[in-house]
Amino acid sequence: MEAQPTAAHAIETVFRLESPRVVAGVARIVRDIGIAEELAQDALVAALERWPRDGVPDNPGAWLMATARHRAVDLVRRRETYARKLAEIGRNLPDAAPPPEPAHPDDIDDDLLRLVFTTCHPVLSREARIALTLRLLGGLTTAEIARAHLVPEPTIAQRIVRAKRALATRNVAFEVPYGPEREARLGSVLDVIYLIFNEGYAATAGDDLLRPGLCEDALRLTRLLSGLMPKEPEVHGLTALLEFQASRTAARTAPDGTAVLLKDQNRRRWNRMLIARGIRALARADATATGAPGPYALQAAIAACHAHAYSYAETDWRTIATLYALLAARAPSPVVELNRAVAVSMAEGPAEALELVDALAAEPALRDYHLLPSVRADLLSRLGRTAEARTEFERAASLTRNERERALLLRRAAEAG
């Protein structure tokens, strides 16, 4: 049974909830997210000293924000005084920091958006973007991020320090991009969230109960972003996609921890509430779209077809095949083509699909990808070309790194006759 949280735990909980906003609000003043995080931490230390003694303030978030902001303004003033003194002895006055503004809910949203675009900035490596986003927006501790990635804590700590330094030395502006840059930058933000989700999704077969739920952290981030950018269709598209994928979490792992494929999942274990949320988010993506749907909205639409189907066989494969064709045109990828082939095999038959799969045979990106021979083997077997099917199942078995999957593929090879 979980006991009532201790005072310190309750304060840390408040801090975790508030810290993205505090860091974002302070970063606008000091123009450096590393310093902003330190100032936020100072405010937490002050809270841990004061609150147990004086009681928790009525609005703890506002207290933390005011305390951190106060320190930030002090810091900026000291810098300005220093700069003025430098100027007095004949040096140039650097750009003065803007004065702190009052906290209006919309301003807080703007600050959070600036923080999202900064932690997902393209000057940072993929790993750095993920770590920094989880730390500053997800409110995860360095230890939690390390555990989620199965790497030692100092590795993550260093990754975060380096990322902050890179943002500072490359003079990355703390701002929301507009104009032609915006779409690419938003793409980077969405990709970071999707990567976080997939890291968690790929790991859910593991049994480390201490491993924080990266899927849920990503889901929370994308829901947050949907609230911050209600007019961006791809943000809603990503939210929809993650809600749909998360809805299958309980069904995609067998009691022994092994993965259950979509076609074998017990659909009664799909979470109906998350599906309903996915449908709503997808509708918002449609409603806000001004042009053709983007890659996330298309993937969400495919996931919606699965969510609506009572069984694998009763799925609307024709629509899914069309959606994959649109996706392949929008974001070409051999993996998307392979998925399209599977949908075509269900909608039209194995012969039509085999043509598509054979066209992928020369694709270098799929050379060691076990699903290519595995899909091909399945199609050949459905066409009664058993000898060829067996060879392909064996080839797929030799390529997979997963023991259980290898066993399954070898069994299918033996059954192929």
């Binding site: 979980e2 949280p5 309750a10 909830l17 849920e216 952290d217 889901l219 309980a250």
Partner: protein, 118 residues
């Protein structure tokens, strides 16, 4: 990340007859928007008075239906919030903030329960 159901219980007899004040609705609306934007609130709603509800009971192998209001209970469920939180401490923190939107003359109990997953 576990989900928590907060069952909001109120004493219908002592609750203001004219319902919640405009200011309360305003504060509550802002807070709910904040919790939703934070990605925490999955679903929330208030319920119509228990006079419009019914209790359906299974006991001794037979069904009985009792129409509302449920005067024999001091507090009845008046609303709910379904939240996805990191832990119970976070669920309690949001619940406290929800309760604080009410004026002093209200008596409201939130029963916060973790949803059994799996």
């Amino acid at each position: 990340m576990p989900r928590y159901l907060s069952l909001v219980r109120i004493d219908e007899a002592s609750a203001p007859a004219e319902g919640p004040s405009e200011e309360l609705m305003q504060r509550m609306g802002e807070l709910i928007e904040e919790i939703t934007k934070a990605g925490v609130m999955l679903d929330t709603a208030g319920l119509t008075p228990s006079a419009q509800g019914a209790r359906v009971r299974w006991e001794g192998g037979s069904i009985s239906v009792t129409d509302g209001p449920f005067t024999e209970s001091k507090e009845v469920v008046g609303g709910y919030a379904l939240m996805q939180c990191k832990d119970m401490a976070e669920a309690l923190e949001w619940t406290k903030r929800f309760l604080k939107t009410h004026e002093e003359f209200w008596t409201v109990t939130c029963e916060v329960r973790e949803i059994a997953e799996g």
